[in-house]
Point group: C2
Chain length 324, copies 2
């Protein structure tokens, strides 16, 4: 039988909920259980299991790797929330807000080790390969976070810099999650490379989609305030593309909207006006579609039955079709 | 030939200095090179090489493991300095003081991964064993740091709690460093366990020695102010032992010295008076000696020539005889 991504994500949710994250001292371990059971879409571990299924692997054996990437992802959220001074995570207080900064640093560090402990439970023959991609990914995620922070104050950020940043910050971990599942299941070197590429391209498309929705989602579908990125002067794919395509007058208009005392409504309306003049909505959808198609092309090339590819296609389509 | 610990620590210093810690973005990598070349005694990597030598291993192959424990140790310092709000590290600004908190968090995280990258370069057949002890150690070091922070505000801390805290915070990493060198060199399971025990006991003795020197070093030998732990109300081995041995009157005296508006000089003199009444200096030396002897006993049992054991004995004796 072939599991759908919904079924596998439910299995992961159940596994996370039955996993024992407790330990002593409590200040160190309580935040870990708290963070891990805050919910979330469990996309990364689901990708790991889907890749294991794709190559006819034992899903139970791949479960530790799936948990490893989920624990790692949540570790990055705990540390990122300190840096971003974000008080809320998934509708609840972030760890540094509920406990304090030091607890968030140190609990995060422990989660990082726990990710490695889970990884070490994978197929022993593949341990070295798995460690290599996991290490590389962990470093790249940190690089992506640092580039993202740098961009806030940096001028002259290009669209290509931005794509590289989201590749590092988001896409490589999706790719790594898939590749770990593939390694566990004994996929060929070539197929492991292709599934990585699939994840990387989907990840970039996913992040562009995030930027798109922040601007063009319907307010009734969207969880947050539509236009939030514009209000906070965020350098998104849309904004950077607009700046690259703008004439002098349009650049002046954007700059003046970003700096002077306009209301949030005026700012969103004004920037959207420029976006419309430049057709940014279509340009963004086209870019997203191009990455999506590159992902599908990589998946096509993988030597596996289309029956096993189908849940990956569905997950990818779901990510692209979402409204929030 | 047999290398002395001085020779091996110089080799490590040279290796650290020629290692390329650079990368992009610079905000992420500059602090790593900065931290790694601040100096220090390089005790942990030296122990790693001494253990590899003990079991006739290839020291060049063990070098990556030696660097792994040194990078890991320095990672813990970078994060600890944020938590302790310590502005100075080895006479220079700490990373969070020279750059900022976020840089220190994220550069620290990257160093943590780099430690794993170096570890992954070890003997592939031993990778799983090495990863297991390294993961366990990394978690324990975090636990030790959290216990240490908890002790600051906790009442009723026992000497045994304190020993467990320093075992976790300091000793296990010395033990792990030795065991990694032993694994690399292909030591037997039993010998790998014994060298771990040697490191663990030496580590505890070393930390008790630290507490002893803070109180009883000669000011002309000691780098910091003698009595600093007393002035800052630190729960050291000496203080906790004194509290356990004190009668009601002595406890009152200590408590009053710790809380009321005495000068630093009066406080140090007053606490030392109680320490002298209770013979704390001798009790501490005896405890230190006991751990030192347990360490030597473990070393004795290891199946290796005494010629190869000698540098380890010398390093242990140096740590015990030091005046600062």
């Amino acid at each position: 039988m072939v599991y759908s991504w919904e079924e596998l994500s439910q299995q992961i949710e159940a596994e996370v909920n039955k996993h024992d994250f407790s330990g002593k001292p409590a200040e160190l371990y309580d935040p870990i259980g708290y963070t891990m059971t805050l919910g979330g879409k469990r996309i990364r571990p689901t990708l790991c299991l889907l890749a294991a299924q794709l190559f006819s692997g034992d899903l139970q054996k791949a479960m530790n790797l799936a948990l490893a990437v989920e624990v790692f992802h949540n570790f990055t959220l705990v540390h990122d929330d300190i840096m971003d001074e974000a008080p809320i995570r998934r509708g609840k207080p972030a760890v540094h807000a509920k406990w304090n900064r030091d607890v968030a640093i140190l609990s995060g560090d422990v989660m990082f080790v726990q990710a490695y402990q889970l990884l070490a439970k994978g197929n022993p023959e593949k341990l070295s390969q798995m460690l290599t991609v996991f290490n590389q990914t962990a470093i790249e995620v940190c690089e992506g976070q640092q580039f993202d922070m740098n961009f806030e104050t940096q001028t002259g950020v290009q669209v290509s810099d931005y794509i590289e940043m989201i590749r590092l910050k988001t896409a490589v971990l999706l790719a790594c999650s898939l590749q770990l599942g593939a390694f566990e299941a004994g996929a060929s070197e070539k197929d492991a490379q292709l599934i990585y590429e699939f994840g990387e391209k989907i990840g970039i498309a996913f992040q562009i989609q995030d930027d798109f929705l922040d601007c063009y989602a319907k307010q009734e579908d969207f969880g947050k305030r539509v236009g939030g990125d514009i209000i906070s002067n965020k350098k998104t794919f849309l904004m950077l593309t607009a700046l690259e395509k703008s004439d002098k007058e349009q650049i002046e208009k954007i700059k003046s909207l970003m700096s002077t005392g306009t209301t949030d409504e005026q700012k969103v309306a004004g920037v959207l006006e420029v976006y419309n003049e430049l057709n940014i909505s279509e340009v963004t959808k086209t870019a997203m579609q191009a990455y999506f198609e590159e992902a599908m092309l990589a998946l096509d090339k993988i030597e596996a039955t289309s029956e096993f590819k189908q849940p990956l296609v569905e997950l990818a389509e779901m990510l692209m079709m979402r409204k929030k």
